[in-house]
């Protein structure tokens, strides 16, 4: 087991290097620091001096890959590639184009993100599994058919409508909770309820339908028939046998997103003005802050790869038939 995990971790290294090279190419080759300076200074008529000054101020005044003007290791280390790409591996994200320390920002904004993403994730799984089991229990009936139709209808609605609709209905018409915002400590709860509801409801359609097929797949298997033949009630069969086995595909499907919960949800956070990493990313995109986007790309990839490794480990934990090779 430990050997397997180590091998998986080693395998992650070349992938991270690939991600790193890709972002470097996108951000520095396709789009040179001169271009970046021009965008931030605005307009076409920007003097070369202004560009040089902007690059000086933001630390982009170095050669891309090889600095022949420096002695010794400085030839390699005093370059944009080393400063902005290699340093990502030790989670040194540098400072944003506005001059703020990105790592500091991330470690602060992570928690509001988690405060939304974690409840949405947990409540979501619970609700989706409950609905899916309900449909599977009444399979073939009108309840099942109309439930599936409802799922397809809910899947066909853009997530933006759920957010706008939820804000309008619950905050503006019923005035139950504030429309957006965030507070520290326990006061945050009243700001978090609505985004969590919206997040869970928005996911019902797709997940319920998918989980229902997992349940139905198990229900038709031989061991279920045996259990019924022994005289177990349908509810017992469903909870004791089917649920356990259907949990395997469900678990392995959701484990991959657990690390990504830290990066939050772009849309929920931005609509509800929650100072998490999702809104941080959106703000960076809107203000064209390349440094932050670069950091988030790398962080997101690291978390996703962690999720993949976790998935493989979960597989072996929940399904004894899977052997690690």
């Amino acid at each position: 087991m430990i050997g397997y995990i180590i091998r998986r971790l080693l395998y992650a290294i070349p992938i991270l290097i690939g991600v790193n090279l890709l972002t470097f190419t996108l951000f520095f080759f396709v789009n040179s620091p001169d271009d970046m300076a021009r965008i931030h200074l605005g307009g076409k008529r920007v003097t070369p001096e202004a560009i040089v000054k902007w690059k000086d101020d933001h630390g982009y005044n170095k050669p891309l890959l090889y600095n022949s003007g420096r002695p010794g290791t400085g030839k390699i280390t005093d370059t944009i590639f080393y400063r902005y790409s290699v340093r990502l591996f030790v989670f040194d994200f540098g400072s944003s184009d506005q001059g703020r320390d990105i790592r500091n920002d991330i470690s602060q904004r992570m928690w509001p993100s988690l405060a939304i993403a974690l409840p949405v994730f947990l409540v979501g799984i619970l609700v989706h599994i409950t609905f899916a089991m309900l449909l599977a229990f009444f399979r073939g009936s009108y309840l099942d058919t109309s439930g599936v139709v409802l799922c397809v209808i809910m899947m066909s609605i853009s997530s933006l409508f759920y957010v706008i609709g939820g804000q309008y209905l619950i905050s503006m018409l019923l005035r139950l909770v504030p429309i957006s915002g965030y507070d520290l400590g326990f006061e945050a709860v009243k700001f978090l309820i609505l985004p969590i509801i919206v997040g869970v409801v928005g996911g019902i359609g797709a997940s319920t339908r998918l989980y229902r097929t997992f349940f139905l797949e198990e229900i038709n298997k031989d061991y279920v028939r045996t259990a019924r033949a022994k005289g177990l009630s349908e509810l017992r069969v469903l909870f004791r046998h089917v649920l356990k086995n259907a949990m395997i595909p469900i678990l392995t499907g959701v484990v991959v997103v657990i690390p990504l919960l830290f990066t939050g949800s772009l849309i929920l956070e931005s609509f509800f003005a929650i100072p998490g990493l999702g809104s941080y990313t959106i703000d960076a995109i809107h203000s064209q802050d390349f440094a932050i986007v670069r950091a988030m790309v790398f962080l997101g990839s690291v978390l996703y790869i962690t999720g993949l490794i976790l998935t493989d480990i979960t597989y072996t934990l929940v399904d004894p038939r899977v052997r690690l090779e």
Binding site: V19, L26, S156, S158, S270, T281, R294, V297, S301
Partner: protein, 469 residues
Amino acid sequence: MNSMPFQPEILWTDFLIFVLIGSFLVFIVYTLRHEHLRVPWRQVARRPMAMASMVILLAYVAVGLMDSIHFRPLQEGQNPEAPVYSNEVLSLLDKAAMPLRARTEKTYSAPFAMQAYSKETVEYPDGGHARENPRLLYGGAHLQDPSERAADIVRRAGTATLAALGLWSLLVVGFLLSWRQSHEPLMQTVRRLVRGKGEFPWRAVLITSGILIILVLNAVYLSLYYHIFGTDQVGQDVFYKSLKSIRTGLVIGTLTTLVMLPFAALFGIMAGYFRGWVDDVIQYVYTTLSSIPSVLLIAAAILTLQAYIATHPESFTSATERADIRLLFLCLILGVTSWTSLCRLLRGETLKLREVDYIQAARALGASHLSVMARHILPNVMHIILIAVVLDFSGLVLAEAVLSYVGVGVDPTMDSWGNMIVSARLEMAREPLVWWSLAAAFVFMFSLVLAANLFSDAVRDAFDPRLRK
């Protein structure tokens, strides 16, 4: 030299749409010639839900195609010997909807409104003035008194509905005559249709087309006199904007798949077929690409494109062209982020297929790798590709809205449902509420995505061997 009244203009996405239609036609001909492909399609065609959805999808496609034939009109008042064409690129849809396009108000107005949304100081002929909602320039301008409005709308809707029913009965009669078996009494044909007998669900098709014809005729006729979905902030007709958004949605849903398909198919099959280092390299590439969160990868790519456009303004002659390049680029980058899952599926299937007897036999008989992959493996993974294509469509249409919200979607000047929703976010905070842009985007987007979802379900059920009974 004789000058044409217009100059045809083929945008990049137009060109690719024509390529897409071409390959679609080839695909249809190929399917019709092969019995084993006709069978699952017939199964799709037997589902009433799928056929009803297809009618709606076809209506969308028709509007999208009309909006994909572009030209530059001749500038007026020019010397006919040396024609100068306008900088503005128009489409057939623009031409057809010229009344909608040209009749812009000053600012917001509600659906079917006769008065503007915001108050203005109006001067009376007798010298006095007051703050009130002024009459619209075009919406309901044919009426003298606002109190006549309800009656006028009902009367016009009635006329349009009657015309639609007339048109629909022509359609039904035409269908009955062609569907009638020889020497069958006509009443019996009618009875067969009403009871839904026969192999294909013609009843569902005819009912859907009937509803569609009624809605379309009503919308078209009423939109000549009113802004049926209101107007937006700069006074543009929202119904017209929603129609224009259809093309954007369809382009993203289809072209993305078109551009990624060759890569996914080639790499997926190669990885599974050759195994060894080819497999390792391809797997490495797609794991790397898929490990970058797709929104961020798209954001990074679009930011770089924006920077390129900002620093090279001379490469683009018109705003339409610039928006079109961005749309195409968005399709490309969405394709890059979405090919990996299909590639993985194809690799797995090919791994299984390459051990099958007939492939071994083909190799033993001296067939080259290329011909084995093209003639034996590709046809046998076709169902996976097809299912992926139809399932991806609705997800891509929905993704457009989210990406536009994040600010990395289509060009802000381009009409799209995503852009309409983005602007609706501020409109919802106004008092009184400006809800109609959001409602229009919802209606148009929802019906397209729902129809696509229902249709793709039927296709998956028919083509997925695991689901076959």
